[in-house]
Symmetry: C2
Subunit: 157 residues, 2 copies
């Protein structure tokens, strides 16, 4: 069985035993993998939001397939399970590159509600029949990004 | 409306007009955004496969929530719409960093079937009740990765 596993370090395992959580961050580069994975998620949200924004602004021609695929992918990203991504011990300051505020782990329900808002805003873009309709639906979408970032994202590192 | 758009370049728009496709890659760094987005997707698959592999190998304690969240996230990633990610003109050699073989665009149904296989293999991991069960389900999962990479991924750049 030859797989492309990225092996996890003993550091992560030790941190796990200490905290009692199934997963925990560490100060090591290995412990930072969860941060990179959620940055990948946010990067994909940003990429698709960029496509929709370019269509809304007339920088790209309207294309129903691209609009609907972008909306669907943002929905899927917003609906991802967060247990493997926003793991305990990976807040800003604890691991490199993280901008996650500790409040995320204190308010998991509200944090989840922010993603549900993003999911709903993305769903509302599906079926937009022209660039203006895409643009009209971008306001609420951007609002959900802003709301979550203001509450749960720390300053740039 | 202040959004975090990444504006697309005129280069992309020009390429679009030339090829007649709604989206097309270009040799510019901007045209490479789709490549980076699909690398983000693959990175997230790799991250979650790594978690499952670590559990299977006893490097991390078995945790049902992590197993199921990893499986669910791989399923969601495999099911993503590919229209915005594997866009025409972003094959290996045409844009930086790409390892996508041109065959992807010649065999879209088979390429899609590979992702459906990954989705099914990930679904089969949900509910694995111990590390051994996770490990047993990793073989077929790794097989789907290997099968797609052998057919549709070019050599390292």
């Amino acid at each position: 069985m030859k797989l492309h596993f990225r092996s996890l370090t003993t550091a992560v395992l030790c941190a796990t035993l200490v905290t009692g959580a199934a997963l925990a961050g560490s100060h090591s580069a290995e412990g930072n993998k969860a941060v990179q994975a959620r940055k990948a998620l946010m990067g994909m949200v940003g990429y698709h939001t960029g496509l929709l924004g370019a269509i809304a602004k007339g920088e790209m021609p309207y294309d129903a397939a691209i609009v609907n695929a972008s909306a669907a992918n943002i929905q899927a990203l917003a609906a991802m399970e967060r247990a493997t991504l926003w793991i305990e011990g990976t807040e800003q300051g604890a691991v490199p590159d993280s901008r996650a505020k500790a409040e995320i782990w204190g308010n998991p329900d509200d944090f989840g509600a922010k993603f549900a808002d993003l999911e709903k805003a993305a769903a509302a873009i599906s079926g937009a029949t022209d660039a203006a309709a895409v643009g009209a639906a971008m306001g609420p979408l951007g609002g959900t990004c802003k709301s979550c970032h203001e509450t749960y994202r720390g300053p740039e590192n």
